[in-house]
Symmetry: C2
Subunit: 440 residues, 2 copies
């Protein structure tokens, strides 16, 4: 019997196993997960800690038992794949429950090991990272047990911002530090001013160009010379790929340890696929490598791998657009396209508008700042970023659909918005960007 | 000197005059408006009556004085164009202030006369139609003077629905009647159930297959035999084109009295353009005549006519998609593409989903019902309709952008949504429609 082995049972791994089973009732499917839980909703974790998500069951989406009963998929948690021998088509698995190691054969191998949180190695019982449900449970237990009132959040990526927002809403007083002034780095830096404003409005302390030098009990020593007591530290200082076990194989890794895949999510070894945060791929709208470690890509990869294995080779991945979004208190920050760091590869121009999200006379109107970058040579949109209290997600999603079709900046005049006063304007901000581009 | 004459000074007329002036500082521009006011926000009128829009100034966007001072455009209100002589390039204008008639020469004539409200001719002082600011002022004065507590709304088009919503929110008890069971006709009939539910929830009385037979003082007699007293009747029973004055000219009208225009908004007489509610054009995504009398089209037409007159013939209109949207209490109803009545021209299939608008565990999640129609022969999307309390406008706008590019139903799987729990799902409902289409 054909045997499909999946490494990792979170978003990418659990979804690809399910998608394969939809199309293939025959093959044996086995999933190995090194940690305690399978298929939890990563993106829910900050909200769970903020008590915004009220039920643990809503975060833990599946169990090995349920997966086996409903889908005939074997999921083994606390089982870490430690090496791959692609000549013999076997993997070595370490079983943490029985403390034994064994070899397992595969016909097809699918890698979705994800990333691990970087740690500041503070060697302190009050310091935590947040990457999975185990981390979440540990933080939750610590908050309850120690009646945490004051927390230090390190880092201004999505985890840092979402945790800060959620701890504050839960009634814990948060302080934010970041080692540079370069915050929320998928967003244009000048468009991050609302992050500062939202913290100021709530009298939240933040310091940039600040690092922890030492933690002694509850006393935290900072590079600035500050010393302050905290009940809890949460580190959101980036991630590293879980690709150590791949190094002994013939699978190509890039210089950061990620796996380049082709438009079928194949690695350089044809019967070994990869998906989720571990892969790099291409952008769809421009000719550039893309690393977009977000949920949409994991789900899309799962679907495409399943189609490939089911013998539908026509369903291929056409590349990423890099859509991303984060809520920070009342504001939304979103962008699509190449990152600010990748703009250097292009000869581009900018068009922007800062105007009411819907009809000016209708209540609840909020300013929306939308900036669109286009390539000077072909006038195609290469990036868009938006900030505001309302309508940000809508505009970035519309532009994602536009960029999927390689639209030029000028064609934005032609977008036919659904207009009524509560929703938009007869010339939507998307249209305005197109009209404003006429003279550029 | 080149002389441009515009007929009508509301959305289409005022905007086209402004747009022309942006690109052409030389020509004389004269606008004739038969009614009292220029450039009011039509779409704001129901909200103004609901006291949702708090200031009259926000609805009246410009005055002839301001237009002349800032743009050097002459606007003459209470001036009705009564005939066109396209051989001599003159129009006849009736001046209601001085009760005189005069001829006016034009080099270019632009027609934006709009439509008038149909009337039930009830011959009753409590019955009103709502089409412009004069109507709105009259209704507002009547409500105040007679302390209106109970109103009858006739018709379930956008005016009927928005007036009902707004009168209720203002504290007036509304009753709704409609002459058939075919309500809110741009929406799929089964998707209008939420209109009924929203009224039931608020104990609002409604009767379909019901008409007024007579009004005597405050007593309203109905075709059902009901007799009931009302303080106010608002009729939202459709519109008719203001094209009587065109009939004596060489300009072609369709059998309903609308003006077909080409992709430059030219009528069959090359130096006579038309825009706004008076025109018919083509759909962009399918080969069919389109009549989309909404604000976006008026603004788009204004821009394109201005570009044509400025000598930029490349900027042409590629057709309508028919985007439309209405709020009714907590619900939004929107669609894009051909109307339900026009579906008969196609051999189509339907894919639909009814699921949470954003991540299930995140608070405030609401069900969203999205239905997409595609042409069986080429699998292109021809229509989409959505109903729900949240995210309806976003999904219809995304699909409008998709249909602008003639996307197939299958390509919706490739849409890269900006995902975080408050906004969407890793597989957005748009993606789900694409995936569900695989087996159709």
């Amino acid at each position: 019997m054909n045997k499909i082995v999946v490494v990792g049972a979170v978003a990418g791994g659990a979804t690809v196993a399910s998608q394969i089973r939809r199309l293939d009732q025959e093959s044996e499917i086995v999933v190995f997960e090194k940690d305690r839980d399978m298929s939890f909703a990563n993106c829910a974790l900050p909200y769970y800690l903020g008590n915004v998500v009220d039920s643990r069951d809503k975060v833990l989406e599946a169990t090995p038992e349920a997966f086996y009963d409903s889908k005939n998929i074997i999921v083994k948690t606390y089982h870490e794949v430690t090496s791959i021998n692609d000549d013999s088509q076997t993997i070595t698995v370490y079983d943490y429950v029985n403390n034994t190691s064994f070899e397992e054969h595969y016909d097809t191998l699918i890698l979705s090991p994800g990333c691990s949180a970087n740690s500041l190695n503070l060697n302190s019982p009050i310091a935590f990272t947040l990457r999975n449900m185990e981390d979440t449970d540990a933080i939750e237990a610590f908050i309850e047990q120690h009646q945490v009132k004051k927390a230090l959040v390190v880092g201004t990526g999505y985890i840092g911002l979402e945790i800060l927002d959620n701890l504050y809403e839960r009634g814990i007083v948060p302080t934010l530090i970041h080692r540079s002034t370069h915050i929320n780095k998928l967003m244009d830096q000048d468009m991050n001013q609302s992050i500062i404003d939202e913290m100021d409005k709530r009298h939240i302390t933040y310091r940039f160009n600040e690092e922890i030098t030492k933690v002694d009990g509850n006393e935290v020593y900072f590079s600035s010379g500050n010393v302050e007591a905290f009940d809890l530290i949460i580190e959101g200082v980036g991630v590293k790929p879980n690709s150590g076990f791949i190094k002994s194989s013939s699978i190509t890794l890039d210089n950061k340890g990620y796996i380049p895949v082709n438009d079928q999510f194949q690695t350089n070894v044809p019967n070994i696929y990869a998906l989720g945060d571990i892969i790099t791929s291409r952008y769809r709208h421009v000719d550039l490598t893309a690393h977009v470690p977000l949920a949409w890509g994991a789900h899309r990869g799962a679907s495409i791998i399943a189609e490939q294995l089911a013998g539908n080779p026509k369903v291929k991945f056409k590349g990423f657009l890099g859509s991303n979004i984060v809520k920070f208190f009342d504001y939304t920050f979103a962008s699509v396209g190449v990152s600010p760091q990748e703009l250097e590869h292009f000869d581009y121009r900018i068009v922007e508008a800062n105007q009411g999200e819907h009809a000016g006379y209708y209540p609840g109107n909020k300013k929306l700042h939308l900036r669109v970058y286009f390539d000077k040579s072909n006038r195609r949109i290469i990036r868009a970023a938006a900030v505001g209290e309302k309508g940000v997600d809508k505009r970035i999603d519309i532009l994602s659909m536009a960029m999927m079709q390689k639209l030029t900046i000028d064609e934005l005049t032609e977008f036919e918005v659904a207009y009524a006063p509560p929703y938009s304007r007869p010339k939507d901000i998307i249209n305005m960007i197109g009209y404003k581009a006429r003279n550029k």
